[in-house]
């Protein structure tokens, strides 16, 4: 067959596409279970690390079942949603829905008798999605720990939000101002506060202003929807806002 004829060219293209497509489809479907398992373990690992339990991916599931005593999916009025599995809620899909219809997952951890509330976060960085988890102590004001992750932030700049030294800045920060109004924690450029934990702000990463703003927005946007639930759950004095 003439290699320059139209028929040959079409035939070659069709065969090539079929071969490549089936090879990739086969690879994707056969590797899917292993990939899903990795993602699940990583999620458990992240949630645990916000409450100060560091673990390898292999033992994440065992420790998760040990320390996470409650998983609930809430609506934005703080009522439990029936029939929704909190762990499988996909925030990416939820964020596209109106706020009244969204499910807000919440994990309650009990580490050696201390209670923590872990809230999943998701927002926008500079290039793509950023997400993470924030754990609150049972005064619903002090942050125990955070985890951040990203899809496509710049290595060395925005991607540094995943680093330990950045996450450490959030520990013991408050999400309420002194009057008890919710304001979250802002990632502030040119921050001069040093180790001040009562100013609702942490130092930003130089060269990653937009990613930092994304972290600020993500914390306040997501947490504010949990306030009704926290008010109904605790006897903590919170200003009505």
């Amino acid at each position: 067959m003439d290699r320059n004829s139209n028929a040959y060219t079409f035939l070659f293209a069709v065969i090539m596409v079929a071969v490549v497509a089936s090879a990739l489809a086969f690879a994707a479907t056969s590797l899917q279970p292993a990939q899903a398992e990795n993602v699940k373990q990583e999620k458990m690992q992240n949630i645990l690390s916000t409450v100060g339990v560091e673990t390898s991916r292999d033992s994440a599931e065992m420790l998760f079942n040990k320390y996470i005593v409650e998983q609930v999916a809430l609506d934005n009025n703080g009522q439990e949603k029936d029939g929704v599995n909190a762990f499988t809620v996909d925030l990416k899909k939820e964020l596209k829905r109106p706020v009244e219809e969204q499910a807000f997952p919440l994990y309650v951890a009990d580490v050696e008798g201390t209670k923590y509330y872990v809230v999943p976060l998701r927002g926008k960085g500079l290039w793509d999605a950023i997400w993470g988890y924030v754990a609150l102590k049972d005064d619903i004001n002090t942050i125990k720990g955070v985890v951040f992750d990203h899809k496509g932030e710049t290595p060395g700049l925005g991607a540094e939000i995943t680093q330990g030294w950045f996450k450490k800045r959030f520990e013991d920060e408050k999400i309420m101002d002194e009057a008890g109004n919710f304001i979250g924690v802002s990632v502030a450029k040119g921050y001069q506060g040093g180790d001040n934990k009562d100013d609702n702000a942490v130092d930003a990463i130089s060269g990653a202003t937009i990613t930092g703003d994304g972290v600020t927005d993500m914390i306040s946007e997501r947490l504010k929807n949990y306030l009704p639930y926290f008010k109904s759950q605790t006897n903590v004095k919170m200003a009505s806002n």
Binding site: N4, V20, L24, Q35, E42
Partner: protein, 242 residues
């Protein structure tokens, strides 16, 4: 394929794979040149000026640069081999599309396998996988070399060019991470940077501070430029006339 009826099947296979004349072994002088040339006088970044985009994007730190180098080497060696195997079947009018499909399929395959069996490495690579598909060195070598040469030579050419790319990438990343963040592979090599002079150690205690500009893309281009300058001044034959 040429008509080789008088050869045995085994001889045919050796000829097909090695694609060399009988006087030369698999790593003969010519083939060694395929590996060594791209490291120096025919470097894909500094001489052919290809692959600049990823050289800018991922050289902020040493670690991603090294991971990217390994990934590019894998993809280049195998895509060169596959295109070389198909070189007598590919219709010339759609050869670029065929090359692109081969590279993209390989990259997706590598990514899927990493995600299943080396999850942490795949997270490191997340952003860069797409960059391999669009890396002009890969396409450039397929077009310039694999379409006209045998499987073994193409494999060596892929490894050699990826090594030349890796060499420059790692060199640029070394300077950018060192001068921009005072670290290498994440370790603080110039001392610890505290909030004040008093709680800093090493060079930072003497008042040294990092050059933030090194972390931004333009400095990657300037660093590559300086490397090109040094190379041209040492080897004058590389300087284009007029």
């Amino acid at each position: 394929m040429a008509d080789n009826k008088e050869l045995t099947k085994k001889e045919e296979l050796i000829l097909f794979l090695s694609d060399t004349d009988e006087r030369e072994g698999l790593l003969g002088k010519k083939n060694r040149k395929l590996l060594s040339d791209p490291l120096t006088d025919n470097n894909p970044i500094t001489v052919q000026v290809l692959g600049i985009c990823s050289a800018l994007a991922i050289t902020v730190q040493l670690k991603p640069a090294i991971v990217m180098s390994i990934a590019v080497m894998t993809v280049m060696a195998f895509s060169n081999m596959i295109v070389s195997l198909l070189r007598n079947l590919i219709p010339s009018r759609i050869r670029i599309i065929v090359q692109l499909v081969v590279v993209a399929a390989l990259v997706i395959l590598v990514d899927q396998v990493l995600r299943a069996f080396a999850y942490d490495v795949s997270k490191e690579l997340s952003v860069f996988v797409g960059l391999i598909i669009t890396n002009c060195i890969v396409m450039g070598r397929l077009e310039a070399f694999a379409l006209g040469n045998g499987v073994w030579k193409s494999f060596l050419d892929g490894i050699g060019n990826a090594a030349g790319y890796a060499f420059i990438l790692i060199l640029v990343a070394f300077f950018r991470e060192l001068l921009g963040a005072g670290k290498l592979l994440g370790y603080e090599v110039l001392g610890h940077k505290g909030t004040t002079l008093a709680d800093s150690t090493g060079l930072y205690a003497l008042g040294y501070s990092d050059n933030g500009l090194m972390l931004l893309s333009p400095m990657a281009l300037i660093t590559v430029g300086i490397i090109i300058w040094v190379q041209r001044s040492r080897n004058r034959s590389l300087i284009e006339q007029n």
